[in-house]
């Protein structure tokens, strides 16, 4: 099953300058009872977006009309905690296509890459400057060029090169799927099993 290709992205950003944002904040456990992948965006950051009475919390950044865009910029150790892929589905379903941070939790990073959400890891100092800039100038536009692995503040701001492994980059650019890749290797997998049974 091919996935949506990651195109060149030019957009504004939403700054969330907190560290250690865990997947329980991204999507609380009480919303994990669904058996499909759709509709999680509605409850993204549920307990930060809404107050106890279920009204929008005015001070939370997603409810601030000045900020919008397809890139979420957040403090280090983003996506720590639970392995729930629902966190990535929620972020994507809400409309984000990339998350910028100085450090991502391992499972979250894998889940993102498997769903076409690009984790862009930038140096800590760059991240802090970016958060400041975007907070002060909500209209700041950025460009993410996956092919060149460049994150750029527009119109001609400083570019930063980000890392992504070549296999996953190819998958995102071409909309390829890991399961299809593995299914094509079934003979090799069977050969491994035979070899291993023989060892025992």
């Amino acid at each position: 099953m091919s996935k949506v290709r990651f195109e060149l992205l030019e957009t504004t950003c939403v700054p969330l300058p907190l560290e250690n944002i865990d997947t329980d904040q991204i999507i609380p456990a009480r919303f994990l009872s669904a058996t499909s992948r759709e509709g999680f965006g509605e409850n993204l950051f549920r307990d930060w977006r809404y107050d106890k009475s279920g009204n929008l919390s005015k001070e939370f950044i997603l409810n601030d009309p000045r900020y919008s865009g397809q890139v979420l910029v957040a403090g280090r150790n983003f996506g720590c905690g639970s392995s729930r892929e629902h966190a990535v589905w929620a972020i994507y379903d809400y409309g984000f296509r990339a998350v910028v941070s100085s450090n991502f939790a391992d499972i979250f990073r894998n889940n993102s890459l498997n769903n076409g959400l690009l984790p862009v890891e930038v140096p800590e100092k760059y991240l802090r400057e970016l958060l400041d800039l975007v907070r002060k100038n909500p209209g700041t536009r950025v460009m993410i060029d996956l092919e060149k692995q460049l994150f750029t503040v527009l119109p001609a701001g400083e570019s930063v090169l980000f890392e992504i492994n070549s296999y996953k980059k190819e998958c995102l650019l071409r909309g390829l799927d890991d399961v299809d890749y593995l299914l094509n290797m079934r003979d090799l997998i069977k050969a491994y099993e035979l070899r291993n049974t023989a060892d025992k």
Binding site: E19, A29, E85, F104, A105, Y167, L188, I189, Y192, E193
Partner: protein
């Protein structure tokens, strides 16, 4: 020959193929699934029209979304019930063994896997649950995965994965009275931070680790993820083999003696290189408690909450965290009132944890201001607790043993802590709202939880052990 780490030894022997500049195709020996992170993976198989590649290598349980009372009755919450039914339907359709609700072997996935002998040294193990690292206690490479990866494993018994870096954590010295494995790992995380091991796989070793029971080792490996590690493992030794030899399905295997010989060889070579090393002395470790909203925010129970410099990069997050908890920098929390106590979870829901709790509350009474949730990790643990008379001890002290499940660790079911209430919990995460919207979690050991339960306030368990 170049000296090998235990981690490399297991990982490398499971590589089906290495992709140039890419991940390894890693063969998975044992796959565990549960109701919450598997339905979308089965949907994927259905859309592709493919079967499960090796149904006998996957084992299923219902644990996250189930009630811990009246399990014989239908689940009240419609969505939860549907999710549990969906798991049963998927297992039936794809030929996967399920230890569902009311099965005598049901329980939390990371409790039943080891106790039923499915987790064996040298294996690669995955599950759509971050606490899969628990199984590393048996000398396995075990780690949590997302649902897309669950689908990969169901479809091919393999996963595409980048090899993490290696870290060794050595804990030497004697663990002090009143201090448990939980305090050791909370201490380590408080020193390395909630992201101190991101990108690494940890091997725990040293005298203090080797002297731990399998239950204690599982508690340590379980929380590896809380410092960001991909997983954590401990080499199998006589303690491991003694534990496994008590499991009938393992002991009765025709190749049992051959396996034991192989397990004994599974360790890191002398001089094997790690990318990072940390050393701790168990004698420095006191009973621990967390005061913030990530597991790295922990301190010795008699310490004051750290004051960090106002210009620190993380100051906004730090202040937000303390504000959520209702604490202030520099404050001591010893003696602070407690509303709830939770004993259970894949971290501390095993028989040894119930014994420790029971030993501490024996002959005392539950404090009137405390609501306690005592949740065994599995049906087997529940039965053993009853056989050992722990349920009587608990009852006499005013506690009630509930039925097994993940319960208040993530509060997907009804076992929620109300907003603003303080919960001393033996689970693994103190995130905002983890135990229910607005709940305030203080992570601690079963002994510290028991001390809080009988005194109604945060209490150093060593003070009660003196009596």
């Amino acid at each position: 020959m170049q000296p090998y780490t235990l981690f490399d030894r297991i990982w490398d022997s499971h590589i089906v193929r290495s992709i140039e500049g890419g991940p390894d195709v890693l063969y998975i020996d044992q796959h565990y699934i549960h109701e919450v992170t598997s339905p979308q993976a089965f949907n994927g198989l259905r859309e592709r029209g493919i079967p499960v590649f090796r149904p006998s290598s996957t084992l299923a349980t219902a644990d996250h979304n189930i009630p811990t009372t009246d399990q014989h009755l239908p689940i009240r919450d419609a969505l939860s019930r549907l999710q549990v039914e969906k798991l049963a339907e998927n297992c039936r359709m794809y030929g996967i063994r399920l230890f569902g609700l009311n099965n005598p072997d049901n329980g939390i996935v990371h409790v039943i896997g080891p106790e039923l002998g499915y987790t064996l040294p040298g294996m690669t193990i995955v599950c759509g649950d971050s606490h899969t690292s628990t199984h590393g206690a048996f000398g396995t490479v075990a780690f949590g995965i997302g649902t897309s990866e669950v689908e990969m494993v169901l479809a091919t018994q393999c996963i595409l994965q980048y090899k993490p870096k290696k870290m060794r954590i050595v804990v030497d010295g004697k663990i002090q009275n009143g201090v448990t494995a939980k305090d050791v790992i909370l201490h380590i995380i408080s020193q390395l931070s909630a992201h101190g091991a991101t990108g690494y796989f940890v091997e725990y070793t040293g005298g203090a680790i080797k002297n731990l029971s399998m239950e204690g080792r599982m508690t340590i490996c379980n929380m590896s993820i809380e410092m960001g590690a991909r997983g954590g493992l401990i080499a199998a030794d006589d303690t491991t083999i003694d534990y496994l030899s008590m499991i009938p399905s393992v002991r009765s295997r025709s190749d049992y003696h051959k396996l034991v010989k192989k397990w004994k060889e599974l360790k890191s070579d002398q001089g094997a290189a790690f990318d990072r090393e940390h050393e701790f002395n168990a004698e420095d470790i006191r009973p621990m408690i967390t005061y913030g909203t990530n597991p790295g925010m922990g301190m010795a129970i008699d310490e004051a909450i750290p004051i960090i410099a106002s210009h620190s990069a993380g100051i906004a997050s730090y202040n937000k965290s303390l504000e959520y908890m209702g604490f202030k920098p520099g404050m001591k929390i010893l003696g602070h009132p407690v509303d709830y106590v939770f004993l259970g979870s894949c971290t501390n829901g095993r028989i040894e944890d119930l014994r420790a709790f029971a030993q501490m509350v024996k002959g005392k009474k539950k404090a009137s201001n405390v609501t306690a949730l005592i949740v065994p990790g599995s049906k087997k643990v529940e039965q053993q607790a009853i056989n050992e008379g722990l349920d009587r001890i608990l009852k006499d002290a005013g506690f009630e043993l509930r039925q097994p499940g993940c319960s208040s660790c993530l509060a997907m079911n009804e076992d929620k802590i109300p907003a603003g209430k303080f919960s001393v919990s033996t689970s693994n995460r103190n995130f905002e709202g983890r135990q229910g919207p607005g709940s305030r979690t203080l992570l601690a050991s079963p002994l510290t939880a028991a001390a809080a339960a009988v005194t109604g306030k945060i209490t150093d368990p060593r003070d009660l052990l003196k009596d």
